[in-house]
């Protein structure tokens, strides 16, 4: 019978904490950049300008058809050599965090683009007509009238996607980055207490994600009433 021994966790808390900070950093950057880039992609796709919409559609379909781990690995391997080629940064410098952020942001943008596109489509076209009739340009109509309404409707979906992303950041273990999960794994490996550490980190992920999704639901209810 396996005997649990949790004693290595208290001492590891500072490491785990800084790991969690890294996880949150990646999540926040990926969500913010992903939403901005995703909005641009959605607008391109709906623009009616053939090359732009073709580019956006291919981008979205490409990233949605490739496993995230693969994208991450590409970036871990590609970004350092690209950086060293273009900016003369020594190959040995640690670009793992930057590549992780870039990879997540680009990947998530494809998903955000689809959420945002459906959000924009949920706003009646007549609202654009009304904005144009007041003398606004198409860009003003989008920025002042359509997008604010669309984002309002999309908040729950965007947050839910953010929660998924928060879990997916654990995939950076492929580059041995010390995020929360990576740190937990390392500590468990070092102390021979892998089971405890993995259970512990699972519990932490669960508590954070579950409370976050409860919060989203709460907001959703508040909006409806």
């Amino acid at each position: 019978m396996y005997e649990f021994d949790w004693s290595s966790i208290p001492g590891a808390l500072p490491f785990l904490w800084s790991g969690m900070m890294l996880t949150l950093k990646i999540t926040v950057v990926a969500v913010s950049v992903g939403i901005i880039w995703g909005t641009l992609l959605a607008l391109m796709r709906m623009s009616g300008i053939k090359p732009l919409s073709l580019f956006a559609a291919s981008y979205v379909n490409l990233f949605r058809s490739i496993p995230l781990v693969l994208v991450l690995l590409w970036f871990f391997l590609l970004v350092p050599s690209l950086l060293s080629n273009f900016f003369n940064i020594p190959r040995s410098s640690d670009t793992r965090l930057v590549s992780a952020m870039v990879a997540f942001a680009l990947f998530e943008a494809a998903f955000y683009a689809e959420i945002i596109r459906s959000g924009i489509r949920s706003i009646p076209k007549s609202q654009v007509a009304a904005s144009l009739a007041l003398g606004m340009t198409y860009a003003q109509a989008m920025r002042l009238v359509i997008l604010p309404q669309a984002f309002r409707n999309m908040v729950p979906l965007l947050l839910t996607q953010g929660i998924i992303l928060f879990q997916d950041t654990s995939l950076v273990y492929v580059s041995a980055l010390a995020d929360f999960f990576g740190t937990a794994y390392k500590v468990g490996d070092r102390d021979g207490r892998l089971v405890e550490l993995l259970l512990f980190s699972g519990a932490v992920y669960f508590i954070i994600c579950f409370s976050a999704s409860l919060l989203v639901k709460h907001f959703q209810k508040k909006r409806v009433s």
């Binding site: 007549s126 609202q127 007509a129 009304a130 904005s131 144009l132 009739a133 007041l134 003398g135 606004m136 340009t137 003003q140 002042l144 009238v145 604010p148 309404q149 309002r152």
Partner: protein, 242 residues
């Protein structure tokens, strides 16, 4: 003020407007009526370029609407339009609905825009609603706000696209009263409506459309007493029966 010359429009094979021509002088009030699908809303939306057309031309105060070189936004800023479903911006308060285009399109300061907005809200009898949101207002109130929003841009003419069709019957008059007031002040207006009471009261001319054509374009007295076309007679007898 507005000349519509031989305008035709089609969606693919489907002809929506055929050779429509009319002239609207400054201060004139024109009522456009006709059965649904007759192209009356499309025609009015061609006037501010919301709907493109393939043939003919529309001139609004010396500016050709169909000319690709025309800055449509600039033109639309001075051509007010009121829609069937109000189209207020639901995420903005009433006063912000009135200010947004004033500040963003005309470049007025916020104070100037608010002052102008409040004045117009007072005019349509809704100044106490300034800080509410569109969803909190009745349909009639929303449409009055929409009229005020268009007036805030100091339009040279106003287009109304079935402004009372989406309203409960008891709210129709509060909107029509505002429009009658405008007409009496000399605003140039093109009004798509079935409210023949409104037409009798303030219209100078009535245009009757059917199947994308202007069938009848006559001074209101002539239109109501002796409509020339059989189609207009039938239409009138149907809507005046009640």
């Amino acid at each position: 003020m507005i000349s519509i010359r031989n305008v035709s429009k089609h969606y693919g094979q489907f002809q929506v407007l055929t050779d429509c021509s009319t002239e609207i002088k400054k201060g004139e009030v024109i009522v456009i009526c006709g059965p649904s699908g007759s192209g009356k809303s499309t025609l009015i939306k061609c006037v501010n370029g919301l709907e493109p057309f393939q043939q003919g031309e529309i001139i609004v105060k010396d500016i050709s609407v169909g000319d690709p070189k025309t800055n449509l936004s600039k033109l639309r800023a001075h051509v007010g339009m009121v829609f069937q479903n109000f189209e207020l911006f639901p995420h903005m308060s009433i006063i912000d609905n009135l200010c947004i285009a004033q500040t963003q399109v005309l470049g007025r300061s916020r104070e100037e825009a608010v002052t102008r907005g409040l004045k117009l809200l007072e005019r349509v009898g809704l100044s106490i609603q300034a800080d509410k949101f569109p969803g909190q207002l009745s349909g009639g109130q929303q449409q009055r706000v929409a009229i005020a929003r268009a007036l805030a841009m100091d339009p040279i003419c106003m287009l109304f696209d079935e402004p009372t069709s989406a309203l409960d019957p008891e709210m129709v008059n509060e909107v029509l009263d505002v429009m009658i007031g405008l007409a009496q002040e000399g605003m140039t207006m093109m009004v798509v409506t079935h409210e023949m009471g409104f037409a009798r009261k303030v219209a100078n001319r009535v245009i009757f459309m059917d199947q994308g054509r202007i069938i009848e374009d006559a001074p209101k007295e002539d239109f109501f007493s002796t409509p020339r076309s059989e189609r207009a007679q039938q239409f009138l007898s149907k809507i005046l029966q009640h």
